[in-house]
C-alpha cells in the first residue's frame, strides 16, 4: 500500500512546521582558511528539528497494544510467509483505480481545502466515513449550502467512455447529496459535448434541481477568508462566474498500477483491455481477465 501525499498536514498542531537551519561561518571568515564551514545545530535547534520527524506514522513497536490485548492475539515477530503453488489457470480480477486526468492540481486540489475528489466525497457521504456520514466541509466542518460537481469541463472534448462514466457517477453523487441536505444548491459542470448531453438526458429524471453548466472552466480561485471557491467558466463564449462552498472533482476508472506491474511480470499485453470486461483469455494461454480491469 503506497502512501500518497496527503493534504492538510500542516493544519495539525503536532507537527511543528519550520525546518531548522544550521549555522555557518560567514563567507569572509572562511575563504582564507580551512576552518569548518558548517557549525552544526545548537541544542535547541536540534531538538526542534528532531521533533519535525513524522516517525513515518507506522508501528513503532512500542508494545502498548501487546500489553493491552488480553487474548494474546498480537505477534510482533510474525514473519512474512512464502507460498509456492502450482495452478492450471489464472484469473486476474484486480479492479480499477480512480484517477484524475488532467491533474487535479489545475483545479486547486491540494491547495484549496474545500476542493475534493469524488472518491473523497464518497467517503464524506458514507456513514462509515471520516465524518460519520455528515456532509461537512473539510476546511471548517461547516455544512455546505452550495456545491459544484466538476466533470472535467476542461475543454469540450469528452474523454470517451471513461468520461461518460465519471459523469454518471457525478450525477449519482449529486443525487445522494440532495437526499442528505435540504435546500442544497447543486451545479454540475460538464463539457458541451453530445455524448455527455446524451448521458445527462438519460439521467434527467433522477436529478431534479441540479443546474448544469456546459462549457470549459477557465479559472478557480479561493476566497481568502471563507475558503469558498470562485469558479469562472465559458458558456457559449460568455464568461460566467459563481461562488461555491465546496467543489467535487470527477475521477475516471483506470487500470490499477498493481495490474500493470502484474502484467509486466506475467508478460501479458493489456492494450485494449479496459474497464468492464467479461471473463476472457489474454494474450497468454491460461491467463484470464475478469471484472473491471
Amino acid at each position: 500500500m503506497v502512501e500518497e501525499k496527503k493534504r492538510y498536514i500542516l493544519e495539525f498542531s503536532d507537527i511543528p512546521a519550520e525546518r531548522q537551519s544550521v549555522q555557518e561561518l560567514p563567507v569572509e571568515e572562511r575563504i582564507n582558511n580551512f576552518n569548518e564551514v558548517s557549525l552544526g545545530f545548537t541544542e535547541d535547534a536540534a531538538v526542534k528539528e528532531a521533533k519535525r520527524c513524522l516517525s513515518c506514522r507506522r508501528c513503532l513497536g512500542c508494545g502498548l497494544c501487546l500489553a493491552e490485548c488480553d487474548k494474546d492475539a498480537i505477534v510482533f515477530e510474525q514473519a512474512d510467509e512464502k507460498l509456492d503453488i502450482s495452478v492450471d489457470s489464472m484469473i486476474i480480477t484486480t479492479g480499477v483505480e480512480r484517477v484524475c486526468s488532467p491533474p487535479p492540481e489545475r483545479f486547486g486540489y491540494g491547495r484549496y481545502a474545500n476542493v475534493v475528489t469524488d472518491i473523497e466525497f464518497e467517503r464524506i457521504l458514507s456513514d462509515n466515513g471520516p465524518y460519520v456520514g455528515l456532509l461537512i466541509r473539510p476546511f471548517d466542518g461547516e455544512i455546505p449550502r452550495k456545491i459544484g460537481f466538476v466533470c472535467w469541463a476542461d475543454n469540450n472534448e469528452g474523454r470517451g467512455e471513461s468520461g461518460i462514466k465519471s459523469l454518471s457517477y457525478a450525477i449519482h453523487e449529486a443525487m445522494l447529496t440532495k437526499n442528505k441536505v435540504d435546500g442544497l444548491e447543486i451545479s454540475l459542470f460538464l463539457p458541451d459535448n453530445d455524448d455527455y448531453i446524451k448521458e445527462l438526458k438519460r439521467n434527467d429524471g433522477k436529478v431534479p434541481g441540479v443546474s448544469t453548466k456546459k462549457g470549459g472552466i477557465t479559472a478557480i480561485k479561493e476566497v481568502q477568508e471563507s475558503k469558498n471557491l470562485i469558479v469562472r467558466w465559458d458558456e457559449n463564449g460568455n464568461v460566467r462566474e459563481d461562488e461555491f462552498e465546496m467543489l467535487v472533482l470527477s475521477t475516471m476508472p483506470e487500470p490499477t498500477t498493481y495490474i500493470i506491474e502484474l502484467a509486466k511480470k506475467l508478460d501479458i499485453n493489456l492494450e485494449g483491455m479496459m474497464v468492464d470486461t467479461l471473463l476472457f483469455e489474454t494474450s497468454k494461454k491460461g491467463i484470464y481477465l475478469a471484472g473491471g480491469i
Binding site: 502512501e3 520527524c53 513515518c56 483469455e281
Partner: protein
C-alpha cells in the same frame, strides 16, 4: 443504472473444471469467480493484496444507500472448502512449466492471530501512532493497527522499516535516534547510532545523506536534517561532554585468527572495527602516512575537521585494531606474504585514487595538477602553489572541493568548467551553492581541448562550448561540441577532476584476483569474495567512486562474510 465496476464473469471455458485455479484480486469479481470455479469442481486459490477480501467499497450501489457495499457472497467464499483465501499477499513470480503455472506468493505478516482476535478494539484505543487513513482517503487518521474494513474487521499491524532506514546503506535506525534527540536523550541517541555505525561524527559532517532525499517529511515541506542531527549528538561526545557508554565496546571472545586489511579508508576501518569486536586480530595496512583514505586525503578540512577524523579513527584503534601507515602492499610485502605471515583472510579496500585522464594535448605540463593529487598533497601538508588563476575541470565533488581549496590557497580567480549543465552536475547541491557563495565561478557546457604552455608550464586552456544532445548510457544528456565555438582562457593552474579509478597494479599479475572490464576488482556480489579464496574486496576499488557511507556499508558486509568464511574454515 448498471453497476460500474464489476461484471458477472460466467466461465464459458470448458477446459476449466477439476483443476487448480489462481484468482488474483479478492474484490467482487474475484469472489464471484472464486465461487464459480469452486462450484465447478476446481480448487481455488484466492490471492488478495490487501489484508481482507470483499473488495474496496463500491463507489455506488443500486440501492443508492450511502453505506459501504459488501459482496453478498463473502460468507459463502469464506466457508467454501475448495477455496483457499490468501490475503495481504503479493504474486512474486510466475513460471510456466509443463502447461502449469508455478506461482511464488509472498504473504506479508499481519501480526495478528485472527482466530484469537475478538474485535474488542482495545489495541486501537492505546496505539499512539497517527497515520493517514487510506480507506478514508486521508481525510482522517487511523492508528498503526489497520482495521481494514468496518464491516469485516480484519486487524493488521502495519509495521515496516521507515524509508530513511531502508535508504541508508548501513540501515541506521534513523527514526529511533532522532526520536531520542527529540526527547533530549542524546546519550541514548548516540548509543543507538554506534550500534551500527562506528563513525557517527564523520558521517554527521560529510554524508551526502541519501536518506534525506527519501524522507517523507520532504513531501510536505522539507526533509529532516538527518545528517546534521547525527552530527549534533556525535559532536557532543567528541567535545568530551558525553562519555561513551561501556556497552558500546563489547568485544567478542578472542577467535585466535588474524585478518589483514589493505587500505585504511572508511571501508577498511569499518570492517576492521567490526572484525575486532567479533574477536579477530586485525591489522590494517595503509600506504599513505595518515589513515582515513579519502576521508583524510580527499575531503578538505573545512568540511571534515582533522580532529573529528582522528578521534573516530582512534576509537577504532581502541577496540584493538592495529593500523600500520606508510606500508605499501606489493613492494616487498605481497598478498602471498600476508597469508604466509598467518593472516587467514584479506580484505582489499584500496579505494579509487587514480585520476582519470582528460586525453588532451598538454595534459602532462607542469601546473596541471589532477584534483585527487592536489587535494592529497594539500591534506598531507605539501600544498601546491596554485597562483592566481585556477581552472578546474569536472562537475563532481572532487572538482568542487578542489575549487574551494584553491580559493583558500590564495587563488583570486577560480573557475569550474563543466561540459554539461547544472542539472546533470553530480556534485551535491549544497556543495555547489557553498562554492558559488565563496566566489567560485562555474561555466557550464564547456569542454577542454588543449593546454597551452609557456616554458613547459601550463599558461592557458583552449575550450569549446557544448550543447546537450540525447541521453547517453549514464542517463544524462550527452554533450555535443558546438562548431566554431572555441575560446581560450589564461590560467596559472589547471586542476582536472573528471573522475577517479582504482589503481590495483600493486597486486601484480599472479595475484589470482580477477578484475572487471572497468578495472575494478571482481567479487561475488553476495559475499564480496574475490576469485581467490579468503580474499575479499569492497569500497571504491570494487564499485568505482561512491560515497563514504556506501564504503562503510561494504566494510561492514565484508566483516560479516569474512567472519562466516573463517568460521567455516
Amino acid at each position: 443504472m448498471e453497476p460500474l465496476h464489476y461484471m458477472v464473469c460466467k466461465s464459458k471455458d470448458s477446459e476449466l473444471g477439476n483443476k487448480a485455479v489462481l484468482i488474483i484480486g479478492g474484490g467482487l469479481a474475484g469472489i464471484q469467480s472464486a465461487l464459480e470455479q469452486a462450484e465447478s469442481g476446481n480448487t481455488v486459490y484466492l490471492v488478495e493484496n490487501s489484508p481482507g477480501i470483499g473488495g474496496e467499497r463500491l463507489l455506488y450501489n443500486e440501492d443508492s444507500k450511502t453505506v459501504d457495499f459488501v459482496s453478498p457472497d463473502l460468507e459463502k467464499v469464506k466457508k467454501n472448502k475448495n477455496i483457499r483465501i490468501i490475503t495481504n499477499a503479493d504474486i512474486e513470480k510466475v513460471e510456466k512449466s509443463n502447461g502449469k503455472f508455478d506461482v511464488k506468493i509472498k504473504k506479508r505478516a499481519i501480526r495478528v492471530i485472527e482466530e484469537r482476535c475478538d474485535d474488542c478494539k482495545a489495541c486501537i484505543k492505546v496505539c499512539p501512532v497517527n497515520l493517514w487513513d487510506d480507506e478514508n482517503q486521508g481525510l482522517s487518521f487511523r492508528t498503526a493497527i489497520d482495521f481494514f474494513d468496518h464491516v469485516n474487521p480484519s486487524y493488521n499491524i502495519v509495521k515496516e522499516t521507515p524509508v530513511c532506514q531502508r535508504t541508508c546503506p548501513v540501515h541506521l535506525d534513523i527514526r529511533g535516534y532522532i526520536g531520542f534527540i527529540a526527547d533530549g536523550k542524546f546519550e541514548e541517541s548516540l548509543a543507538l547510532i554506534k550500534e551500527v555505525l562506528p563513525f557517527p561524527s564523520i558521517c554527521g559532517h560529510i554524508c551526502p545523506h541519501p536518506c534525506e532525499e527519501e524522507c517523507n517529511r520532504g513531501r510536505i515541506d522539507y526533509p529532516l536534517s538527518i545528517r546534521d542531527l547525527k552530527r549534533f549528538v556525535a559532536d557532543i561526545e567528541l567535545q568530551d561532554a558525553l562519555k561513551p557508554k561501556p556497552l558500546m565496546i563489547v568485544k567478542g571472545e578472542d577467535k585466535g585468527k588474524k585478518v589483514a586489511i589493505i587500505g585504511a579508508g572508511p571501508a577498511g576501518l569499518a570492517c576492521a572495527h567490526d572484525l575486532a569486536l567479533l574477536g579477530y586480530g586485525v591489522t590494517v595496512f595503509e600506504a599513505l602516512p595518515r589513515p582515513g583514505g579519502m576521508l583524510a586525503v580527499g575531503i578538505p578540512d573545512y568540511r571534515l575537521p582533522r580532529d573529528v577524523l582522528e578521534k573516530e579513527i582512534a576509537a577504532v584503534s581502541a577496540v584493538g585494531v592495529e593500523i600500520r601507515c606508510n606500508t605499501v602492499i606489493g613492494k616487498g610485502l605481497s598478498l602471498d606474504d600476508l597469508f604466509n605471515k598467518g593472516y587467514e583472510a584479506v580484505f582489499i579496500t584500496v579505494g579509487a585514487h587514480k585520476n582519470q585522464e582528460m586525453r588532451i594535448p598538454g595534459e602532462d605540463a607542469r601546473g596541471v595538477i589532477p584534483g585527487v593529487t592536489f587535494l592529497r598533497d594539500l591534506n598531507l601538508g605539501n600544498p601546491a602553489d596554485v597562483g592566481e588563476r585556477v581552472a578546474v575541470i569536472g562537475g563532481g565533488n572532487v572538482a568542487i572541493d578542489s575549487a574551494r581549496c584553491a580559493l583558500r590557497q590564495g587563488a583570486r580567480d577560480v573557475t569550474i568548467l563543466y561540459r554539461r549543465s547544472r542539472q546533470e552536475m553530480p556534485a551535491s547541491d549544497e556543495e555547489i551553492e557553498a562554492a558559488m557563495e565563496e566566489g567560485v565561478k562555474i561555466e557550464y557546457l564547456v569542454a577542454p581541448l588543449q593546454v597551452f604552455t609557456t616554458d613547459g608550464k601550463a599558461a592557458g586552456l583552449r575550450c569549446m562550448r557544448m550543447e546537450l544532445g540525447k541521453p547517453d548510457t549514464s542517463g544524462r544528456r550527452r554533450p555535443i561540441p558546438v562548431e566554431g565555438s572555441e575560446f581560450d582562457i589564461e590560467l596559472d593552474t589547471l586542476i582536472p577532476a573528471i573522475g577517479q579509478v582504482p589503481d590495483i597494479s600493486f597486486l601484480g599479475e599472479s595475484s589470482g584476483i580477477e578484475l572487471t572490464k572497468r578495472g575494478t576488482i571482481a567479487v561475488n556480489p553476495d559475499t564480496l569474495e574475490t576469485s581467490r579464496p579468503g580474499v575479499f574486496a569492497g569500497g571504491d576499488c570494487q564499485t568505482g567512486p561512491k560515497i563514504a557511507i556506501e564504503a562503510i556499508a561494504a566494510g561492514k558486509k565484508a566483516a560479516v562474510f569474512i567472519d562466516k568464511y573463517l568460521r567455516g574454515k
